[in-house]
Amino acid sequence: MALKIEYVSGESYLHKLDPRPKLLLFLITTVIVIFFTDPIYASIILLAWIILTRASGISVRKTAQILKASAPLLVLYMIINTLTNPANLESAKDPANVIFYLIPMSRWLPVTPQGLVYATAILIRFIIVVYSLQLILFVTPVVDIILALVKWKAPPSLALGTSIGFNFIPVFMNVARSIMDAQLSRGWKGLSAGSLVEKVKALPVFLVPLFLQGIDNAQKIAVAIEARGFGYNIAKRTFRRDLCLNSIDYATLTMEGLLIGGSAALWYTGQGTFMFTYSLVERLISILTV
C-alpha cells in the first residue's frame, strides 16, 4: 500500500494551477477535516474532491485504488475507532444509549449511535486526506512540488536530492527485478518458499547484491551530477521553470481564503461537530419509533 508517484498529464483547472495554491488546497482540506468531526460536512468535502477529480479528467477509481487496496485495514480501523472514540466512550456510560454489544450476550464492547456517527466521520476524514493527496500527486509533476518547496525556502540541494531520488525509483526497481531473476536462475527458491527461518536465511541472496548495486548506482549518479556542475554555486542556481501566479491562481487563493474564513466562522460558532449529524439521526430514530 503506497501512494502512486505518477504524473497524469492533462489540461484541466487543477493541472494548470500553480503548485503552491494546489498544495495549499490539500493542506487547508487536511486542517479543516481535523477540526470538523461531522460526517455530513466531511462527505461534502469528499464530494468536492471527487468532482475535482472528474473535472481533471482523472479516473476516480484510479485515485481511490490505494483505498481499495487497503480496505481490510480501513474496516479494522473503523471497528477499533467505533469502540474507542471519545463520543462512544462518553455516551456508553448511559446504558440507554447502547444499541448493541460487539460481543453479543455479554456487556462487553458497547456501541452507541453517537460513537457510530463519530467513527464514520473519522473514516471519511481519513479517506479525504489520502484521496486528495493522491489526486494532487496525479496532477502535479514532482519537479513542480520541488519548486514549490524551494519557493517556500526549503534548501535547493535537499529539494533536488528528493527529486533525483524519486526519478531513480524505477531504475532501482529494474535492478531488483534482475537480481531476483539472476538468483532464481541458479536454483534459488525465492523469498516465498519454506519456513520463516528459511525465508530469513534467503534474504541475503537478494539483499547483498541489491545493496552493492545500490551503492554503485548512487556513486554513478553522484559522479554524473557533479560532472554537470551540481553544487557549483547552489545559492545562485537558476531554474528553467519558474512558478508565477496567474489569474486562476489568484482566484483560487481568494477562494481558499474564503474557505478558511468560512470554516473558522463555522467552527467558532460551534458548527460542524458530529452532533449535527447525530441530531438528525436522533430525530430520524424518534420518527421511526413513533
Binding site: R186, G187, A224, A227, R228, G229, Y232, N233
Partner: protein, 574 residues
C-alpha cells in the same frame, strides 16, 4: 594552444596500492579529436576523470604531476568550475539521467551554472535540435531507448557549452540503432573546429575514421600515440592487448605477412580504402575456405521447443513476443540478435521459466515450463546474466560456486569436488577462499559462470556477454562457451556484436518487434541483406567487403578475416 595537458601524471586511488595512471604525458590541441583505446583497467576512465577534476576532487587519492585544462591547474580548481570547460558523458545512460522530463534533464547542467532562464530555454532547444531530438521536451527520460538517453546526456552537456567533450565509452551499452544514432552526433561534434573531442571506445572501427589521433593505453601508461593510420599499423600489438582493430586493417596485415603483392601497399583503415585496393584482384576459385568447423545441422534431440508463444508484460498492451515457433536441438550453438526491445531477452527468459507464455507453450526437455518450477528447470538450463554482480553475494568464491548445489540440496561431501573442478577449469582455483568482490570484472564473470555451471545444465543461455565489456572479456566468455559446446553442451547467446556471431555461432536468429525474421545457419544470415536492413543490423566489415567485391568473383558468404585471407592468398600468386 592546448585544451588539455598532462605533465607526468601518476595517480593512485585512495586505498589502492597500484597506481591507475603511471607517468602520463599527453597534450591535446584545441579542436582536436582524440580516440583513446585500451583494455580494461588501462586507466582510460581515470584519464577522463582528470579532465574535469573528478580526479582528484571527487575520487581522492595520491596525485603526482599536474593536469592543465585551458591552462587551469585542475588541482586548484573545483569540479563545478571545470565542468564549464570539460563536459563528461558516461557509458551507462540510465544512471546519468536524473530529471523527470527531457527538457529539465538538458537544462540541469546549465541551471547548476546559474545560466539565466531565457538563455536556458534557448540552449535546451538548440541542444535537442543538435542531437535530433527536438520535440522530445516533455518526454520522460527513463522511458526512452538507450540511444535516445545517451543523446540526451550529450545534449545536456552541450547546453553547458563546454570547450572539451569527453565521452567515456558512449556506445558500449547501446544496441546497433542506438550506436548509430550516437555516432552521428559525435561525428558532428568532431567536425566543429572550436570543440575538442576525447572519445574512449573499444569500437576502433567506427571511431578511427573521425579521430585525428589515437592514444592506446595499457596498464596505466600510454603505449601508442599517433595518427590513426600509424597506430593501426601496429595491428599485432593491438590484438595482443585484446583490442579489436578494424577488420580490413587486420586483413591487410595478414595478407602482407605472406609477402605478396600487398606488401608494398598502405594498410587501409576504412572499408572503402580496402575496396579500392582489392578491386584489382579477381577471384577464380571462389569456394569459401571455411576457417571454422562447418555448420552442422544438429539432428540431436530437441532440448527447447517453443510453440506459438505470445507474451506480454503485465500492464502492457504490446506483445513482446508475438507468435514464436522455435526448436533448439542438442549441442547447437545459437546466436540471437536484434535491437533492444525486439524480444531477445524476453524469449530466452522463457527457456528457464523466468517468464511463462501468455499463449502457446514452451517445453524444456519435454517439461512444460508452465508446470515446472524455475529451480527444477535451472538444473537443465543455466542462465548467465550480463552483469555478474547481480548474483554474487557470498563471502568466498567457494561458497558462491557451491550456492546452487546447496540450494537444490546436493550432498555436502560431493559439493566440494564439483566446486574445485569448476574453479580449476575457469582458472579461479587460487581465489577459492577470497571474496568474489575482490576479483576484477573478468574474474567475477568467470565465478558467475562457474556458479551457474555447478548444476551441470545441458543448455547454457548467455545474455549479452559482449555489451559493456572490453573485447578481451567478451572473447574470454565466448571461448568458455565454445569449450562447453565441444563437450556437448547446447549454447544460446544474445549479442549485438556481429563479429562474435560470425566467429562463434552456427545458427543465427534475427528478432524484430517480437517476431523471428530469420532463423538459419549464420553463413546464410549475413546474406539476408533485406532482413538485416529492415532490422538495422550490419554484417561484420569483412563480410561487407566481400559483398562489395561480388562482381570480382568474391563469394558473399565469407564470415571471418581468416577466411578472407585464405581466399585471397589462394587466388593471388606470391
Amino acid at each position: 594552444m592546448y585544451s588539455a595537458e598532462f605533465e607526468n601524471v601518476t595517480f593512485s586511488y585512495a586505498g589502492s596500492k597500484e597506481p591507475a595512471l603511471k607517468g602520463i604525458n599527453l597534450k591535446i590541441k584545441k579542436g582536436e579529436s582524440l580516440l583513446i583505446a585500451g583494455p580494461n583497467a588501462a586507466g582510460k576512465t581515470t584519464l577522463c576523470r582528470c579532465l574535469n577534476g573528478l580526479v582528484p576532487h571527487f575520487f581522492v587519492g595520491d596525485m603526482k604531476g599536474k593536469v592543465l585544462v585551458n591552462q587551469i591547474n585542475t588541482r586548484e580548481s573545483g569540479i563545478g568550475r571545470l565542468s564549464q570547460i570539460t563536459g563528461l558523458v558516461f557509458d551507462d545512460p540510465t544512471s546519468q539521467l536524473v530529471c523527470s522530463t527531457v527538457a529539465d534533464e538538458v537544462a540541469f547542467g546549465a541551471e547548476n551554472l546559474g545560466v539565466l532562464r531565457a538563455e536556458i530555454d534557448r540552449k535546451v532547444e538548440e541542444s535537442l535540435t543538435a542531437v535530433r531530438l527536438a520535440g522530445y521536451e516533455n518526454r520522460i527520460p527513463q522511458t526512452l531507448s538507450g540511444g535516445e538517453q545517451q543523446a540526451i546526456a550529450i545534449a545536456s552537456i552541450m547546453a553547458m557549452n563546454p570547450e572539451i567533450f569527453v565521452l567515456d565509452e558512449p556506445t558500449s551499452n547501446l544496441d546497433p540503432i542506438g550506436s548509430m544514432q550516437v555516432l552521428s552526433i559525435i561525428r558532428d561534434i568532431a567536425r566543429e573546429q572550436e570543440k575538442t573531442l576525447v572519445v574512449v571506445s573499444h569500437n576502433i572501427e567506427s571511431f578511427a575514421a573521425l579521430a585525428d589521433r589515437i592514444v592506446v593505453m595499457d596498464d596505466g601508461k600510454i603505449v601508442l600515440d599517433d595518427h590513426p593510420r600509424l597506430v593501426l599499423q601496429d595491428v599485432e600489438r593491438l590484438l595482443e592487448m585484446g583490442l579489436s582493430p578494424p577488420q580490413v586493417t587486420e586483413l591487410f596485415l595478414k595478407l602482407q605477412k605472406k609477402g605478396n603483392v600487398f606488401a608494398k601497399l598502405d594498410i587501409p583503415i576504412a572499408i572503402e580504402e580496402a575496396y579500392d585496393k582489392l578491386r584489382v584482384v579477381s577471384i577464380r576459385n571462389s569456394a569459401v575456405p571455411a576457417s571454422r568447423e562447418p555448420h552442422q545441422v544438429s539432428l540431436g534431440e530437441q532440448v527447447i521447443e517453443v510453440k506459438g508463444v505470445r507474451f506480454r508484460y503485465p500492464g502492457s498492451e504490446v506483445f513482446a513476443l508475438d507468435g514464436i515457433d522455435l526448436a533448439i536441438r542438442k549441442n547447437e550453438f545459437v546466436a540471437i540478435i536484434g535491437q533492444n526491445g525486439s524480444g531477445k531477452s524476453t524469449l530466452v527468459k522463457h527457456f528457464n521459466g523466468l517468464l511463462k507464455p501468455v499463449e502457446g507453450s514452451v517445453r524444456i526437455f519435454g517439461l512444460n515450463t508452465n508446470e515446472t518450477p524455475i529451480w527444477e528447470l535451472s538444473r537443465r538450463v543455466g542462465y548467465v546474466f550480463q552483469n555478474p554482480d547481480l548474483q554474487l553475494f557470498n563471502s568466498t568464491v567457494r561458497k558462491e560456486i557451491g550456492f546452487s548445489l546447496k540450494a537444490i540440496g546436493f550432498p555436502e561431501e560431493k559439493r566440494s569436488e564439483v566446486v574445485v573442478n569448476l574453479a580449476e577449469k575457469f582458472n579461479i582455483e587460487q581465489y577459492l577462499e577470497q571474496s568474489p568482490a575482490t576479483l576484477d570484472k573478468g574474474g567475477r564473470q568467470r565465478v558467475a559462470i562457474a556458479s551457474v555451471l555447478a548444476l551441470n545444465p545441458d543448455v547454457l543461455v548467455i545474455d549479452e556477454p559482449t555489451t559493456g565489456q572490453d573485447p578481451r572479456n567478451s572473447r574470454q566468455v565466448m571461448n568458455i562457451a565454445k569449450g562447453l559446446h565441444s563437450e556437448g553442451k547446447t549454447i544460446v547467446f544474445i549479442t549485438h556484436n556481429m563479429e562474435i556471431v560470425a566467429e562463434y555461432a552456427e545458427r543465427g536468429i534475427i528478432m524484430w518487434q517480437g517476431k523471428i525474421l530469420f532463423n538459419g545457419p549464420v553463413r546464410e544470415l549475413f546474406q539476408q541483406s533485406e532482413i538485416l536492413k529492415k532490422s538495422y543490423l550490419e554484417a561484420p566489415q569483412v563480410v561487407r567487403l566481400a559483398q562489395m567485391l561480388k562482381d570480382k568473383g568474391f563469394p558473399s558468404d565469407i564470415l571471418t578475416v581468416e577466411e578472407m585471407v585464405q581466399l585471397i592468398n589462394r587466388n593471388v600468386g606470391e
